[in-house]
Symmetry: C2
Subunit: 116 residues, 2 copies
């Protein structure tokens, strides 16, 4: 059994790519980053993103269908929460790496901060 981790089949790879694709949009990634602090309702996330509510809802649908977040209706609102525990570690890692890259690039350009 589970040959799929050694030599991933088409369905498996597609499913995994879907996760990455879902995270590969600034607005969606920002929402996911925010969800590390705990669940939020769509309205919270809209405030964070600043786009139309319908746009935010569509982004959330992408994340949900990829299995990155899960949603739960409670009271008047729908709350979204992270459903991919290992993501936090990876975000941390890429974050550090990118910070490093940005720092190097700034150094090359002669500025002392790029954190604008």
């Amino acid at each position: 059994m589970n040959e799929m981790e050694a030599r991933p089949n088409r369905h498996f790879i597609a499913e995994q790519a879907k996760i990455f694709k879902a995270l590969g949009h600034p607005s969606r990634l920002l929402m996911v980053q925010a969800l590390r602090d705990g669940e939020k309702c769509v309205c919270d996330l809209q405030a964070l993103i600043g786009a139309d509510m319908s746009t935010v809802s569509r982004h959330l649908a992408v994340l949900r269908e990829a299995g990155v977040v899960r949603s739960e209706k409670r009271g008047t609102n729908i709350y979204y929460a992270l459903a991919l525990s290992c993501l936090a570690t990876f975000l941390q890692c890429t974050g550090t790496l990118i910070a490093e890259r940005i720092r190097q690039k700034s150094a090359l350009l002669g500025n002392d901060q790029d954190a604008t």
Copy 2:
């Protein structure tokens, strides 16, 4: 210093999203998976993907510009290698998760394997 990990700025988030976006395509993800075993030339990767050489080259450019892989010309060929060490762990984690999901879904449908 490094406020960006707590409250990521636009540039930072865009850069991070670029990594995910790069990984968010089946062909690119497949190549990255293959690169876990060590560097490969474009021709190897083309054989893996089966698309036009130009297509493979463009996919590799996306990965390279996102900083997921790095390339090095050696002899006649150009070799691509992983440049994002922490990726392997995350792939492992999502892989396990997806395998789990696929298994559950298959169970629901009554089939005993979906690993086709």
